[in-house]
């Protein structure tokens, strides 16, 4: 039977667990999880997101990139027999036997509005927009809840000190999932604070490179005008030749 299928059909057949939903008969290993309190038997080895889909949930909310980049799928769960509430990204976390799961729609956090060009590049800007910064009790809960494993408390401490560069570096991989904020006893919105600090650092301290300035001037002055006239009118044959004649810069 299989021999008669074309290669493309065989590929489609073997990929189907991620393209069309999972078929029970292909599954050898199972676990039981609890979604909003109800027990479901789902294939082992799936992510929380995939297992919920297997169980019959169709995500409208709480699914975005499905790759750990967008922060849409923040989840809170507890393992069987464990009192600890855990946090994770549903698209990146494997289900485990006895997990109790809840999907959270994103945190309704307040974001300050500002005009980046008009702010003063000093410590005051962070406190002006996020005065609650001063309330951090250094409990480290944010760090423990971060699915990106960032040192969230450290970057908040850096923000309190006004060290924009340190905040930028420490918080750079933040996907703004909001899990730190919903767990913070002092109600800080760490990821918005970090966003402001990064933009301030980028805007005020990362200057425009000379080579970019020069290029912008050249374009403005019409340096390439004549060449463009030629290139735009070139036939495909001519373009092919130009293309073939390009010289590759050395590695």
């Amino acid at each position: 039977m299989k021999e008669k299928m074309s290669i493309m059909d065989r590929i489609a057949e073997s990929n189907k667990s991620v393209t069309t939903g999972i078929d029970e008969k292909d599954i050898k290993y199972w676990v039981t999880i609890y979604i909003m309190g109800k027990a479901y038997k789902v294939p082992a080895g799936l992510t929380i997101m995939q297992s919920m889909e297997f169980a019959g949930y169709r995500f409208v909310r709480s699914a975005g990139c499905r790759a750990g980049f967008c922060g849409a799928c923040a989840t809170v769960y507890r393992k069987a027999g464990d009192y600890k509430l855990q946090t994770a990204m549903a698209c990146q976390t494997r289900v485990e036997e006895g997990m109790y799961l809840v999907q959270i729609p994103f945190a309704p956090a307040e974001k300050a509005t500002y005009d980046i060009n008009k702010e003063k590049y000093n410590i005051g800007v962070l406190f002006k927009h996020y005065p609650e910064l001063a309330r951090c009790v250094a409990c480290n809960t944010c760090t423990k809840s971060c699915p990106q494993e960032l040192e969230v408390m450290d970057y908040i401490q850096d923000a309190i000190k006004g060290d924009f560069k340190a905040v930028a570096e420490e918080s750079f991989d933040c996907i703004q999932c909001g899990l730190c904020a919903i767990r913070c006893p002092a109600e800080l919105v760490q990821y918005h604070i970090a966003q402001l600090a990064r933009r301030m650092y980028g805007h005020y301290e990362c200057h425009e490179p000379e080579h970019l300035k020069i290029r912008l001037k050249e374009i403005e002055k019409g340096k390439y005008k004549e060449d463009w006239n030629k290139l735009i009118k070139a036939t495909i044959k001519e373009l092919e030749k130009f293309y073939a004649d390009r010289e590759r810069e050395p590695d």
């Binding site: 990929n15 292909d26 995939q50 019959g56 974001k111 990064r198 980028g202 290029r215």
Partner: protein
């Protein structure tokens, strides 16, 4: 028994296969198979999903009747609308704006800001999203953004790279816009406070990208799209531009004079619809990876379902180059939770080698993407030398430990923090063990035909980003699509704002185009089995679906 036994992230039988790879590593360290000859390439390309027989058919109705497209796309073009005219009351307008933007990835968000800069007030711009604002392909761009801003480079060279990469099918004037505005976009990003990788002396760090003859890839660690979009979105929010979430557009609206005039939006949660009237409409809905063309996994986000192309086509816009699909050779193939996700080309350019089940290097690691992908397929399905995963998928190894052997310890942590994190989560240490890969569906090369101002051939309808066609011809180069989003997001925002100012009389809103389209479908004998846009893919378990009853 409920659990498989894992050793370092892999089940026992795969662990044994990894030992074979470990044994041959030193022998392979200084050996790559030679690049294929022209003839060999031609032969192996027959195995590529884009060229292999049977994947495409002719579009049977509309502007592009007779053109080829992937079956999955043509299926959606030959599908009936989600709504019927009589269900929709167009006399009650819920939102009356100057500019409606559909889709808030890099393209749509950029468009909103530049339209606002043109003087369109923030409450007269509406950005509507199917998911949250920013849940998109843009967030995931890892590799970088191209811009010719170094002394030995120029927009002209960038132009040639893009044209050649696109097999010269690109629209030259659109490509000119792309490359000429690139330095300006870099300047804009810096102004907004985006943090782009730098050398010690403050110059941009610029790297190679496939198909370019200059180093011009600007990155923000391996989180380029995340940094670009979150900064641009933050700016958007500062301006308090009007934004809706979980409100996909399900049909465009036309006014009495045949101009695009807004859209019907659908509330995903409550199921009711809203009518938006707009003087200009910008479509920025991104690509189609979630159609899983030819049954391939994808790198794309959950909402990449081709909606924009479907809506625009019904409204009479022309498409181009939708026949070509970009597959990335190295999608992750194991474990389940990361199947399809992108493993950047940079891994191979820094020494990671494709290796088969027997531990043999079987292909030059840096063939063009389509050739490389075909060679992987051949290894798995013709030569039967792939590795089969517990869910039945096949893949070949990408020997990542070679990166550190060739470039020194610590290289992987420095160059690939995102990748390390992704595999750490599944207990795989890519410094010590190879990863399993298989080609994955990555990018929609064509789309709704655009011009240098982002205009389509429907008056008042603009496009920007992955949904558009003409910028990349038949094949996009890495780093040119995030650029495309920002250049044509900006341009479409500016020109839509200018256009909106000229719109005086507002004709009556209508769905006439939809009615006409349905008539065409009927005439062509197409049965009302399929409906589009599909909005979201279907992944629910088969057994559950079989037992569902529709009550509410």
């Amino acid at each position: 028994m409920s659990e498989i036994k894992f050793i370092g992230g892999y089940p026992e039988y795969m662990r044994k296969l990894i030992n074979i790879v470990n044994r041959t590593r030193i022998k392979r360290k200084n050996y790559d198979p030679p690049a294929m000859s022209k003839e060999e390439r031609k032969e192996v390309l027959n195995l590529h999903p884009d060229y292999a027989h049977g994947g495409k058919r002719k579009i049977s109705i509309g502007q592009n009747k007779g053109d080829m497209g992937p079956n999955e796309v043509v299926d959606l073009l030959e599908a009936y609308p989600l709504i019927e005219e009589r269900e929709i009351d167009l006399s009650q307008i819920d939102y009356d704006v100057d500019i409606l933007i559909i889709g808030g990835g890099l393209a749509g968000t950029t468009a909103a800001i530049w339209a606002n800069d043109q003087g369109v007030p923030s409450d007269k711009i509406l950005l509507t999203n199917k998911l949250r604002h920013g849940d998109s392909n843009s967030m995931m761009a890892e590799g970088g953004t191209q811009a010719a801003d170094r002394p030995n480079d120029s927009p002209l060279i960038h132009f040639l790279d893009a044209m050649g990469g696109g097999h010269f099918a690109n629209k030259p004037d659109v490509v000119k816009g792309l490359v000429e505005d690139a330095p300006l976009i870099m300047h804009w990003l810096l102004e907004l406070g985006a943090i782009i990788d730098r050398e010690e002396n403050g110059d941009f760090t610029e790297k190679w990208g496939g198909g370019t003859c200059r180093k011009r890839m600007h990155a923000c660690r391996d989180y380029t799209g995340l940094e670009e979009l979150r900064v641009i979105r933050d700016e958007f929010r500062n301006r308090k531009i009007f934004c809706l979430e979980y409100y996909p557009a399900i049909e465009l609206l036309i006014d009495g004079e045949g101009r695009a005039a807004g859209a019907v939006l659908w509330n995903c949660e409550t199921g009711d619809y809203k009518i938006v009237r707009a003087k200009a409409t910008i479509l920025a809905t991104g690509g189609f990876g979630r159609l899983h063309i030819r049954g391939f996994p994808t790198t794309n986000h959950y909402g990449a379902t081709c909606d924009g192309v479907v809506l625009a086509y019904r409204a009479g816009a022309k498409l181009r180059d939708v026949d070509t699909v970009q597959y990335h050779p190295t999608g992750s193939a194991y474990p389940q939770q990361i199947i399809g996700l992108l493993l950047t080309e940079k891994l191979r350019s820094m020494g990671a080698q494709p290796v088969n089940k027997d531990g043999e290097a079987f292909v030059f690691p840096l063939e063009p993407r389509d050739v490389e992908a075909s060679a992987f397929i051949r290894e798995c399905y013709v030569r039967e030398k792939g590795v089969t995963t517990p869910t039945g998928m096949r893949g070949i190894w990408l020997d990542t430990p070679l990166i550190e052997i060739k470039n020194g310890e610590g290289t992987i942590d420095n160059a690939f923090p995102g990748m390390r994190r992704m595999f750490n989560r599944v207990d795989i240490d890519i410094r010590k063990d190879p990863v399993l890969v298989f080609p994955t569906l990555h990018y929609q090369n064509g789309g709704v035909e655009t011009d240098p101002e982002g205009k389509t051939d429907v008056q008042g309808l603009f496009v920007a980003g992955e949904v558009s066609g003409g910028v990349h011809g038949k094949n996009r180069l890495m780093g040119n699509s995030t650029l495309d989003c920002m250049v044509y997001g900006r341009r479409s925002g500016i020109y839509a704002a200018k256009y909106a100012k000229t719109v005086k009389g507002r004709g009556k809103l209508s769905l006439e185009h939809m009615k006409k389209y349905v008539n065409m479908l009927k005439k062509a004998g197409i049965k009302p089995e399929r409906r589009a846009p599909i909005l979201l893919p279907e992944y629910r378990g088969k057994a559950i679906l079989a037992r569902m009853i529709d009550i509410f």
